[in-house]
Symmetry: C2
Subunit: 137 residues, 2 copies
């Protein structure tokens, strides 16, 4: 069971990387972009990202550095709390997201084509339940 999850995780990760390679980004970077894309004002701070993405904050620093270097997001100091940093999608970042979205959707399509919708719902429910076991320490 543990091995099953490990394999699945690896495959998902690798497949996503393969699809994203033409755009010069990898799966973790994609995750960050998509989380910002799904946010009011396309804006988050590093610690919110760390929570949502399940990455360590040190890792977020590295990943967002790369995204900044590529001009996909922007870093600005927060006014309300000067410890915080505000990350915002740039127009360039938005354009890129919308350009790879079709390919990503096709990937997700491919990955689920053999599963009944009912199975997917069921799987998600059980995964959540299982994960709850862990969180409850």
């Amino acid at each position: 069971m543990v091995r099953l999850i490990k394999h699945l995780h690896k495959r998902i990760h690798d497949d996503a990387n393969a699809v994203l390679r033409p755009w010069g980004i990898n799966h973790p970077e994609y995750n960050i972009l998509m989380m910002m894309y799904g946010t009011e004002g396309y804006t988050l701070n590093p610690s919110q990202l760390a929570d949502a993405a399940g990455e360590k904050s040190a890792n977020i620093t590295r990943l967002t550095n790369e995204l900044c270097d590529k001009g996909l997001i922007e870093r600005t100091a927060s006014d309300e709390d000067r410890r915080k940093i505000t990350l915002t999608l740039t127009a360039e970042g938005l354009t890129m997201i919308e350009s790879f979205l079709p390919d990503i959707c096709a990937l997700l399509e491919r990955q689920t084509v053999g599963m009944q919708a009912r199975d997917m719902v069921q799987l998600e429910r059980l995964l959540k339940k299982f994960l709850d076991q862990f969180e409850g320490d």
Copy 2:
């Protein structure tokens, strides 16, 4: 869904590492030990391990090096095929496995206590089915 699997994978990995730390080994090393423990003669070669563990062979080399250094397994050249290497659990390795087994079982117990046996079977079935989607490229 993808994030769910990522989180779950991470939690399983981290929890196992936490339990294993007192013995000075980590989750990947534990996996290797357990695979050998579950084998006739406590013996495998690196490529079998790589397949079973889903690690790259280069990684297996590093991990088995560490286990050799710690005296938990032994490397010997294979007679039948001189390209191959035979990895065998040492008495020391066996002793260690049997010493941490109770704690590992307790961990697994904790992780599944809230799940019905039926749910676990179902979850495993769906995960396998989902994984098949990917393998079929």
